[in-house]
Symmetry: D2
Subunit: 220 residues, 4 copies
């Protein structure tokens, strides 16, 4: 599984978000590897209109319908076509009780929950809250091009080991610095089920080619 | 001028956001009074696709393109069709330096900035930052149906007086509890140029009728 | 174990914080039950000067020495005489990664970590982070005088059950609405090792008498 | 006027906070120049016990007595001996409405309010809220040793010009990178009434000597 986080990169905003999602869809259909995308809130509707791959929000707030101007309602991203949401990304970290609440809200709305964590102990705490997916990303490697699966394999193996003690079923992804197919292959070999990636794809010269490389590497 | 804040009300989420925006457009074209709408981020694209009235975001973050997962880029709401944004709504308050930064970003992106303030002194501080619009809303009246223009007229007159000392041009709106045409008329008489309203319209049994009443009252 | 959170009540600020701590010390020495106090930051030094019971900070920040104006350094409360700190109180909730970091910092500084949690699932997540103490407090009962141990015993039993699955050693406290000795006795019977209490003692007419009642009830 | 912000530097924590405050007091009495200090919350009581110079808190919260665990009550720092407080330091920035509220609370408690601002427009907004002191500090220079009064004199002159348009009486300080007497002299020449300084003094090899140099430069 590959999830591409569009962040707020200009290369993945507005019409360029749709173009990138179309490339992801192409890779998806060519390889059979699940490639999901996480565009900005304002781009979810146009992206889901354009493609048939899983679209995730980058965040939702721990709220139900009501007076919460400027916040992100789970139901609103669901109605716009999202099938899931990132939660607690290192660039949008949340209070622990809010993570717990959002996982429950996502379940109610039938949205996949993909909770990010910065290290093995935080991943383990998250695992007890029963999200669908955990993505461990050492923040110091995010955006560096230095792959977590190469530079800090022990972060991944320790996360897998500790998470499995409390939650045998959750899908485990890793991220940070993933920029080549071999980084993806290494991640899978260390016990994860896929990667969460952003700049490695969004800022690549040939976004399609690198996504294809990731997907091919995912098949082993 | 009437700006309708959709907040995260279920009556104004997804397809219902589009329906409400269509009613606002009808009032707009029937009366010639400018009626703008502020839907949730994920609804901006579908709303701007459906109607030809001003659409505002409910918030944008003080960021430029980059690694800001889960945040709201001014450019993204602009590309989705918004012509402006609320800033510092009482339900999404911001650091002072961020308000300053967002006003500057909005100007760069050619987005109207409508900064909310909770009292006359805060309105005056905001006025020195040269936004396009200031909306004063005493938070204790928001959502109550008790109109600021009736219950606390001195908040409005004091705001108008102090703001005009430092900024003769900014558009001044008021809000909180506005629920009938006479509340709008009172607001204009006190020196404002219009109203920012949410539950008074969104939660009304007949959203069109009450918007029409507001628009008619705006014409004096 | 009884921990008395002084919050920012005027009845427990400045000289009144010292007076209340003295009453706690008296109960401590009369009953042998450990009674700790958590005064405001600015009162820690004078309280620790005055009494010989455990003094906790109400919060510390996830920082090391450096440029963090207005934040609370673990070392500063330690030097002022505190032996531990509350973490993630429902009135001062923290990001998950910060809770993880603060528990580690507390350990380095040899400070007891008492992490608050709002429900059984959050308590379990916290338990995997290996703090010294977990205090479960349903926020809706805080300050009500309706005791969690009477009104929501299932919150306590479920917390004890789930926490023990991942952490057999951590001390478990409960709080919210504890106002009589029988509430304390009930809490112990449900499997906790004590209570975290605030208004029930701080706002009592006779602070000493109620603390004594709590301590006596703690002895069974 | 010189205000020394102790931040959370280890060189100014606990007993070292007291030592540094004593040096400030010595400079104060030798030169007649007002030298105030802003230690950490937990050090306020011991510092005010030890010296007779103005002691400020580094921050207070926009709260009145009540249930605000882990927050900083104006009354608590006042009772501990502080005569004022920094507000909105760039390392502890606040919502605009909170700045407004804290200035009012400080006035009620008879505490001096020293509000920090990052640029001329924010300084001007702050000036309309009538604090006692404004300290403008470009955050990009904080802690660099590159003096704002040398590297960005236009920030200071623009701040003085704009602030004076809306507030003729407020005391204006500047800060960031101030590390020599000539930086202080330059700041005064540009129209300020003094400096807010941190690392330039706290991390100096000879804290007394550099404070004395600052004070001498303040006398012109």
């Amino acid at each position: 599984m590959v999830i591409v986080n569009f962040k707020t990169y200009s290369e993945a905003t507005g019409s360029r978000a749709v173009e990138l999602a179309r490339k992801a869809e192409k890779v998806n259909s060519e390889t059979g590897v699940s490639v999901g995308v996480a565009p900005q809130f304002a781009d979810i509707a146009t992206v889901t209109e354009a493609v048939d791959i899983p679209v995730l929000a980058q965040h939702v707030d721990p709220i139900r319908p009501g007076g919460f101007t400027g916040h992100v309602l789970a139901k609103s991203v669901k109605e716009a076509g999202a099938v899931g949401t990132l939660i607690n990304h290192s660039e949008r970290q949340l209070k622990l009780s809010d993570i717990d609440e959002i996982i429950k809200l996502a379940r109610e709305e039938n949205l996949l929950s993909c909770v990010c964590a910065n290290n093995p102990s935080v991943s383990t705490a998250v695992a007890t809250l029963r999200p669908d997916i955990i993505a461990v990303e050492p923040p110091e490697l995010i955006g560096t091009g230095i792959s977590v699966s190469k530079a800090k394999p022990e972060v991944i193996t320790e996360t897998v080991r500790l998470v499995r003690e409390v939650n045998p079923k959750v899908t485990i992804l890793c991220g940070a610095g993933i920029s080549r197919g071999e980084d993806v292959a290494a991640a899978l070999k260390l016990g994860t089920q896929g990667v969460l990636v952003a700049s490695g794809i969004v800022k690549a010269k040939d976004q399609y080619a690198i996504m294809r490389e990731f997907a091919d590497a995912s098949k082993g």
